[in-house]
């Protein structure tokens, strides 16, 4: 897919994220909009994952540690043909498998997540198994910046470096906001790059809302032989909708009909300008 096509796909995904969040009257709007470019590039340019090969032990793995931004994942999985998009009309409805966090009952989801600090340890286990079996597939996990204070992340970061897991790539959706306020106010985790580098990781920082920059970063993996790779994706929470951008109230804010209409108008204008 060309960079232009990828950029257009991101806008389409953003519109769908908002559509289904409005339909469900629930969702993690700001974070889904910030991380969608990462998922777009992963599923359309990087991952060897499809509905057809999903049971193959040789597929790449994508584990979403920041499970609360499940709307971004569901929209991309529907687009990739894992299930009919119309299923998402049941999002958060009684007895629907399409709940507010990833569940393996939905085709295409690797692990049940939602509690934070779990994706990286599981990914380390998956990457270790691939090394043991001398397989070439890779493991990707998306973390939120707000979940970095969970100690299990740092336990797993040690293990990943100890076992030289250069088949592992963690991406941090660094939108710099969490439910209470900025990361810096809640629990300052900066400098993230120096921390991971000191743990033995190879780190790249990119504009996480720039599909071309993301493509280039993923193509460079592993960033250093014998080291796990970390992409710090600098993103904007609420990206693509002016009144949601960098505004913490949209962490799990749900637009009303007028806000939804205005958001779609903005995204349509963005699409026209690509």
């Amino acid at each position: 897919m060309t960079d232009k096509e990828l950029a257009q796909r991101s806008v389409t995904y953003r519109k769908k994220i908002l559509q289904y969040i409005v339909g469900a009257k629930a969702g993690h709007t700001g974070g889904s909009l910030s991380c969608i470019d990462v998922l777009n590039v992963l599923y359309n340019d990087v991952l060897n994952v499809s509905p057809e090969n999903f049971t193959s032990p040789d597929r790449d793995r994508y584990i979403q540690s920041k499970g609360h931004c499940v709307e971004a994942l569901f929209v991309v999985l529907a687009d990739k043909g894992f299930f009919p998009e119309s299923d998402l009309e049941t999002l958060c409805k009684y007895k629907s498998h399409y709940i507010g966090h990833p569940t393996k009952k939905v085709h295409g989801v690797e692990q049940n997540t939602g509690a934070l600090g779990h994706g990286l340890p599981i990914s380390v286990g998956e990457a270790l198994a691939a090394k043991m079996d001398e397989k070439d597939h890779r493991v990707f996990t998306l973390l939120g910046d707000g979940e970095l204070p969970e100690g299990s992340n740092w336990e797993a970061a040690l293990t990943a470096a100890h076992y030289k897991l250069d088949n592992l790539c963690a991406i941090i959706d660094n939108n710099k906001l969490q439910i209470t306020g900025t990361n810096a106010e809640v629990c300052n985790t900066d400098p993230i790059d120096a921390k991971f580098e000191s743990f033995g990781w190879a780190v790249k920082q990119v504009d996480g809302n720039d599909v071309k920059a993301l493509k280039e970063a993923f193509a460079a993996m592993p960033f250093e032989a014998g080291k796990p790779s970390l992409i710090i994706a600098h993103t904007i929470k609420g990206k693509g909708v002016s009144f949601m951008e960098n505004n913490v109230k949209w962490h799990h804010g749900v637009p009303d009909q007028e806000q939804y209409k205005n958001a779609i108008t903005e995204l349509d204008m963005e699409m026209a300008n690509i």
Binding site: K104, N112, H118, P121, I122, V124, G125, S152, T159
Partner: protein, 322 residues
């Protein structure tokens, strides 16, 4: 039924030694078996395993949450992952990983709680696991096993390799005598083993309390009280059929476990029995809800009556003397 084997009659080992020897033999023939440890291979008697099968052991270091998360990832990728760590840390520090990454995600990790209960004795409450049955019982999609002797442990490990679902297996450090030499009494998950039969009282125990329960039954026999003794190695799923049958066949039920009296084997039986209209004498023996007395495992057992004498006395105090 075979006679009780006396302590000095044959050689016997701690169940965790039997676990590691059995697993080593199985792992030598199955490269998919992987042990994951948290600087615990010494206590887990896995040093030899690590030397013989270095490619089938993953050392995590002292980080139990990561231990379980990594084991879940290994299991998801098709490995038969045995996450081995002291029961006290494994089932408390890593409880959320057990709940979500193992049970909810249905990654078939075999969780192995070593030095369980009060095995660590005088090391104190930080090192005791008297909560593990209770918390694991409250989590969906896990089988909970506490084998009593070397035979049960061997069989449990063999079954654990085949059991491709979340499993918690816990045992201790004390050398455990064989409960019976009767080969007709088999072992399968979810089926209690009736070691001795008698109609006056049923003593339902598990883990390292079954042997003193059996000794208590011998003492009671001398006083004319006939006791059934069951090794209820599987706490979940509980062998409801057997418990309800015992309720019909005997005059009273006593449960014994190396666990706090809250939420373990005893309460599992009590809940079942009460909901089936049971109204005969019933008592739960275990560690009471208090700061646990200090001492060795044997001293702690004796203090709380989890000994042959203590269990026999408890039965007598249930008022079933003829």
């Amino acid at each position: 039924m075979g006679a009780v084997v006396e302590n000095t009659a044959i050689s016997y080992k701690p169940n965790q030694d039997v676990f590691s020897a059995t697993l080593l033999a199985l792992a030598e023939a199955d490269r998919n078996i992987v042990v994951v440890t948290s600087d615990s291979r010494g206590s887990g008697k896995l040093v030899g395993y690590g030397q013989k099968l270095p490619k089938q052991i993953v050392e995590i270091g002292i980080a139990e949450q990561n231990l379980v998360g990594v084991a879940a990832g290994l299991a998801s990728a098709g490995k038969k992952a045995f996450a081995v760590s002291p029961a006290c840390f494994l089932t408390a520090r890593a409880l959320e990983q057990i709940k979500n990454d193992v049970c909810y995600s249905d990654n078939p990790v075999r969780l192995i709680g070593i030095s369980a209960g009060v095995s660590y004795g005088a090391l104190g409450t930080t090192h005791h696991s008297l909560h593990d049955f209770a918390v694991m019982r409250a989590i969906n999609n896990i089988t909970i096993i506490a084998p009593a002797d070397n035979f049960e442990t061997t069989e449990a490990v063999k079954l654990a390799v085949k059991h491709n679902k979340p499993l918690y297996l816990r045992f201790g450090k004390k050398a455990m005598p064989l409960l019976t030499e009767d080969a007709s009494i088999g072992f399968e998950f979810g089926k209690g083993r009736v070691i001795k039969k008698g109609n006056d009282v049923a003593i339902i125990a598990n883990g390292e309390t079954v042997y003193p329960a059996l000794q208590a039954a011998e003492k009671l026999a001398q006083q004319g009280i006939k006791a059934t003794v069951v090794s209820m190695h599987t706490i979940k799923p509980l062998d409801a059929e057997l418990v309800l049958q015992l309720a019909k066949d005997t005059g009273a039920i006593l449960t014994v476990e190396e666990h706090m009296v809250n939420g373990g084997l005893g309460e599992a039986c009590a809940s079942l029995l009460l909901q089936h209209g049971y109204n005969k004498p019933f008592k739960i023996m275990g560690i009471p809800d208090e700061y646990t007395v200090t001492g060795s495992q044997v001293e702690i057992f004796a203090h709380y009556g989890l000994s042959a004498d203590g269990i026999a006395e408890a039965v007598i105090n249930m008022g079933i003397m003829k």
